[in-house]
Subunit: 127 residues, 2 copies
Amino acid sequence: MSKIKGTKAERELLKMLWHNGWATIRSAGSGSMKFPSPDLLAGKGERKLAIECKATADTSKYFEKEDIFELKEFGRMFGAEPWVALRFDREAWLFINPMDLDETEKSFSITKEKARMKGLSVEEVIR
Amino acid sequence: MSKIKGTKAERELLKMLWHNGWATIRSAGSGSMKFPSPDLLAGKGERKLAIECKATADTSKYFEKEDIFELKEFGRMFGAEPWVALRFDREAWLFINPMDLDETEKSFSITKEKARMKGLSVEEVIR
């Protein structure tokens, strides 16, 4: 995913979360520093969500193992639920529990089919 | 404060927080979107800190009223303590409770003297 397309997807989801009463910030990324950093961090009352956020035109999505490990580690340290938010072209956002990704030797992945089956809608996640 | 100097100050504080076991992200800013967004958001277990972060060469620091209102509002919605982190030249970071800022007609402000008196060190805040 291009950086511009990535930013657009993050902003779209950020806006949806705000409109549902969740205070949300978009990460500047760690730049040259090697600290983990989810794309979005959302909070409302007691619940916090650390979100890795991707849009794709493909029928499955691959993730660097490192990115998923870092998402989970950030969530554990910060005190936030780790989520992967995925949007396949012309479909609604799906929130995937990182545990539902399939692990291969070099990456994590999920097919569109499995994402539809296991994923939660925005409304279900923030309920 | 220049944007570059601001970013440098934010990164410096982010690093200190990570080194003390606080998972911290730097906000990308809201860009064209009008959502409030603190400079840093740090969490460890139950505690979360929303931090507006400034370095200054002056002997007092002024804040736009809007920035302080937004910091408090973000903290209330997200579920985070609102803090103003200030570093006067050649001094250590001081964490100021927004309630300790002085309100004038057009802004909030604090003198170096009052910041030293009321402010907490990084170690005190994250204890």
